[in-house]
Symmetry: none
Subunit: 226 residues, 4 copies
Amino acid sequence: MEMQFEAFRSQLEESGAVRERIRAVISELDNVVRVMQASLLPVHHATTQQAAKEVLNKAKSYIPQLQKLYSQLAEIIRDRPGQYYRYHDHWRNQTHTVVFLLSFVHWLDTQLLLSHSEVETLLGVKPEEFSIDIEDYLIGLCNISSELPRYVVNRVTAGDYECPRQVSAFLSDLFSAFRILNLRNDLLRKRFDGLKYDLKKVEEVLYDVKIRGLLSNQAAPKPMES
Amino acid sequence: MEMQFEAFRSQLEESGAVRERIRAVISELDNVVRVMQASLLPVHHATTQQAAKEVLNKAKSYIPQLQKLYSQLAEIIRDRPGQYYRYHDHWRNQTHTVVFLLSFVHWLDTQLLLSHSEVETLLGVKPEEFSIDIEDYLIGLCNISSELPRYVVNRVTAGDYECPRQVSAFLSDLFSAFRILNLRNDLLRKRFDGLKYDLKKVEEVLYDVKIRGLLSNQAAPKPMES
Amino acid sequence: MEMQFEAFRSQLEESGAVRERIRAVISELDNVVRVMQASLLPVHHATTQQAAKEVLNKAKSYIPQLQKLYSQLAEIIRDRPGQYYRYHDHWRNQTHTVVFLLSFVHWLDTQLLLSHSEVETLLGVKPEEFSIDIEDYLIGLCNISSELPRYVVNRVTAGDYECPRQVSAFLSDLFSAFRILNLRNDLLRKRFDGLKYDLKKVEEVLYDVKIRGLLSNQAAPKPMES
Amino acid sequence: MEMQFEAFRSQLEESGAVRERIRAVISELDNVVRVMQASLLPVHHATTQQAAKEVLNKAKSYIPQLQKLYSQLAEIIRDRPGQYYRYHDHWRNQTHTVVFLLSFVHWLDTQLLLSHSEVETLLGVKPEEFSIDIEDYLIGLCNISSELPRYVVNRVTAGDYECPRQVSAFLSDLFSAFRILNLRNDLLRKRFDGLKYDLKKVEEVLYDVKIRGLLSNQAAPKPMES
């Protein structure tokens, strides 16, 4: 009995040590994510394209640090094939925020959705080694949605009357895309319910702009940096 | 004692099996409802009558699938007289959404309320076999009410300034009709309280349109497709 | 719209009135159950067979009142075929206690389990008109189990050293019988988990009696009133 | 955007379908485990070695069914390398009970602990394809511990005064073995705390037997079936 338990001890200690190593990486990741998020906040009140561009560049400057930390996670998991989901809970929450930050920056730049594989490319992870779970990616996208109503209100306040139309179109597409999914995952379904509310808020801003005759009649929305 | 419990086992397993069969139907119903709801979403941003008509036709194309699934429920219950309310909880939520979808589509088509018996006819259920519970119907109606403010906002944004008047008249009638009822049911009363709030929101849009001189003076609202 | 809602009003009021009538019966049932339960308490401290018999007779004297009230429930439901489960929640809790009381009294009398159909006979209900739901019957049985450890402790204190053996055998049979069932019902499963604990407590009393040499060596337990 | 979400849909549906398949196996496993556990119950009241042997043989007769179901789980996971821990939650609880049943039967047979690799052999799983998680194995062992005090009480009641000594020695060894482990896992630590309490209860029975002079003086405990 004792010999067997000695073997268990070393195996439990090995998995305990893996958890410790992951926790150390996540703790650093948490710091980078927090600072990157803070660096992005001024985009809500950037009054010129130049100012917005500087905010985005500052935010993007943290991407190499994200890459370093995700490559550390990948390295820990690489030696333990098949254990990604054993430890997945540890990086789940931070990954939601990372996906949010990367895809919000990307949308601000291009008015386009950052795809799942683009997230993995930006983070420098190889899907066969350390992939970003699809549900984590989708929850990250829901987080953009909850940021956009505030962004639209601030842009209109700053005199950008086209922004509500762009955001409304983007969120409406995103909302339709989510409806395609059969969401059995409780957390994801709950976040998705918020998406509808965000879209409604943006549509109300668009309505306010329209009814006051502030909306131009040009059909196609222009990307912000064009 | 054992013989009696053997009998209980088979009875508990029989009701367990009924629940399994119902759950299988509800899971499919859930899919159809989700896809039908997704198909109806573009009605918020349909810019022409033709586009709106196509959206409605697409949504209506799912009705035969609803009929098939409700006839499966009816078949399960038909063999178990008096057990409709034993299993009612299983289809309650989906039925609220089905009533909402059918009556929203009907209202978009005709600006009229879809009656309780019309719902049963559309679903192909015979009331003596498998009726739609009245409270479920009424909750489904409350769901239209919560969709209409968003619809009105989007219609006005698209330049349809008559829509608020039509919707306000419809919701006002619906609100009066609900006041006839003596609502002791908690869920229904709560939803009805939302109806008042929805009516108020639509009236505010009507006011916005009116004070900006965007409302025509013609008295009678025209149905959308006339 | 108004005519339809007038019809709904009368239907909602009809079901509201049914609920009122049922609630009035249940309120009276609640009283009888409470008094009957109080009348049964002294059985824990009855020191002679005669005293125990008197307690049981007193408890049984409430059965005609139970019959009257269940026949009132049956009468309300008889006119509404298929609505037993619509209103089932109203009498569920009281029925658990009624089953417990009847079957505890029966066990005290005979050391036998009161069967499901015997419960219906005692309550004077016809299964085709107003049955006792099987899950309610089973939950009622679990309630006896939770009364028995206390009863055993009191009987041993009063010098009846055979009682633990009888109760242990009864609960052990009941426990085995429940294990036959596939309990998907959450409430029932939770109550059943308590049954195991009750059995363990009774076995510990039996152990105490055995280890002190107080247990006779006769194999078959005798019913209390033989 | 839509194409990407179509791909997500199929991936989410694929993992949803895997969960459905696993759930179907687990539901069957649940049945077998329940019936096997019920078949083992009479061991508490078996009065002869022959009767106990028959109970154990009955319990062991379910092992081929366990093998069949674990091989089905293994087959589902085999096609999805590295996803064992993604779906691990589904079979965790049942596996605890399976380990308990197998190792309790083994202990009753031999008074020895069933090792982790013996569990895998009995279940017919190949560790490289579908292993039994070590923490699940250890939790299963804790479940024997919580069954043993009741077993000891019943054995003593049946006049087997050697049993407490055997069980006390076994639990004491098991307790020492667990102390070797560094338990950071919350669930496992909580169960382990229960082990100490179970050992104490068995020691109290041993004490009761000893001070009443019911314990023989022979040093070595005899296995039950020798």
